[in-house]
């Protein structure tokens, strides 16, 4: 993980006073978090299991989308290689605001067991992360818990926040 404090949430503006408009908008947002299908390695299998019938992500309003333009949350499920780092940033930049990132599994959090030259040591070196989900691989229940925590976080944010200047490649 990034050793230095990167102030990703600079414009998030916490603590905030929420108005009823914020509450309505956040209620809508938190119950329709569309996720970008982003399985990079074995954690992707657990992410797919969470989306399938037994764990049923749809009841949280979380539907997997194949395009970053339609997605609200990027679940980084798996090992990020250095070759791919450029593309994760590009996909993140293509997602429309507001957007969130869940870093799923040890590999995405810290590089995990791949302490080698070719693995990015934590996706937060490349994109800002809202929620770190530990485990190798985290079970679908943990991913559900992470999504529920993210919903809780979304409900505590101001609905209209300043758009961060985006950095394109």
């Amino acid at each position: 993980m990034a050793q230095h404090q990167v102030n990703y949430l600079k414009d998030g503006g916490l603590p905030v006073a929420l108005t009823s408009i914020d509450k309505v908008v956040n209620w809508g947002r938190s119950n329709s978090i569309w996720a970008l299908t982003y399985g990079l390695a074995c954690c992707g299998i657990e992410m797919m299991a969470s989306g399938a019938s037994r764990y049923d992500f749809d009841r949280f309003g979380t539907i997997f989308r194949a395009s970053p333009r339609q997605a609200d949350v990027m679940i980084v499920a798996g090992t990020l290689t250095k070759k791919h780092a450029e593309f994760i940033r590009r996909l993140y930049d293509q997602m429309t605001e507001p957007k969130w990132v869940i870093s799923m599994g040890s590999c995405a959090n810290t590089g995990g067991m791949f302490n080698t030259y070719a693995t990015v040591q934590g996706v937060d070196r490349v994109i800002p992360v809202d929620l770190y989900l530990p485990g190798c691989a985290p079970r679908p229940e943990s991913l559900q818990y992470a999504v529920m925590l993210l919903q809780k976080k979304i409900r505590s944010e101001k609905a209209i926040k300043a758009q961060k200047p985006k950095r394109l490649m």
Partner: protein, 268 residues
């Protein structure tokens, strides 16, 4: 990007050496012991110079001159029935012998035999492509170039295959550090944000022993919901898992742990 500077053999250091240890050798036998191999060997020797030959683990190994590699493989394919090239790569002998050993692993489906053809090239020498003979050599030769830096002449698309195109260094050489050189360590930061972001993002944390259980900056505490950056007291009572704020959320059903049922029949 800065050029790659060669380092000493960084992976060579041994943690323990036994003074009386002798490296085990896989026994080798003479080629004449196997009639099929002996016939192939005789046919080859009529056309090419064979530097060394033996049978090891039921496979014939022959050493040839690197300039002969295309002709030898063509001969083996067309006249000896070794119609498949199952593997092709190199071995780094730079420190001991100043070059690479390139090997071609051949398979004959009719004879049910395998032959390994080896040749030795210097560190800066190139080798001829066998891609025209075996399509499988296409990616293998690119991988050999990517991992060892061995250039292959007459290859249709001589480019890196696994590492990014602008990568510096050849990762499977013994001089390449496992955790990457400086170029590798900063690759994604340099590529995406530019060099000036190095100070902000900071170096990679590679120390696997660096685990602080009570670090609330980076790790969650199971069963405790502790604000980020606060001090964590391990004796504090557990927080019940709360998925929702107090008061609930409009139209969304809250989870009541006391009413939940644990399924004992996993096949349900």
């Amino acid at each position: 990007m800065r050029p790659y500077t060669p380092k000493d053999d960084v992976q060579k250091k041994s943690y323990y050496t036994d003074r009386y240890w002798v490296a085990p050798q896989v026994p080798k036998s003479d080629v004449s012991e196997d009639a099929v191999f002996a016939a192939d060997h005789a046919a080859l020797r009529a056309h090419f110079e064979i530097l060394e030959d033996y049978i090891q683990r039921g496979q014939m190994v022959i050493y040839i001159h690197p300039k002969d590699n295309y002709a030898v493989l063509e001969f083996l394919r067309d006249h000896c029935g070794y119609t498949q090239l199952s593997e092709l790569s190199a071995i780094d002998w730079i420190a001991q012998r100043g070059g690479f050993e390139v090997f071609y692993q051949m398979l004959s489906m009719t004879k049910k035999k395998r032959i390994r053809v080896k040749c030795f090239i210097g560190e800066h020498e190139a080798i001829n492509s066998v891609e025209k003979l075996f399509r499988s050599a296409d990616w293998s030769e690119r991988e050999m170039y990517d991992m060892f830096g061995i250039k292959v002449n007459n290859h249709p698309f001589m480019k890196r295959i696994l590492m990014p195109d602008d990568w510096e260094g050849f990762p499977l050489r013994k001089t390449y550090p496992l955790q990457g050189d400086e170029f590798a360590a900063w690759y994604e930061v340099d590529r995406i944000f530019g060099k000036e972001a190095r100070d902000i993002i900071g170096p990679e944390i590679r120390d696997t022993a660096r685990v602080d259980r009570y670090d609330t900056e980076r790790f969650a505490q199971l069963g405790h919901e502790v604000p980020k950056g606060s001090t964590f007291d391990p004796n504090q009572p557990k927080t019940p898992l709360a998925y929702q704020e107090e008061g609930g959320v409009f139209l969304i059903e809250g989870f009541d742990e006391t009413k939940s049922k644990i399924i004992s029949d996993r096949k349900r």
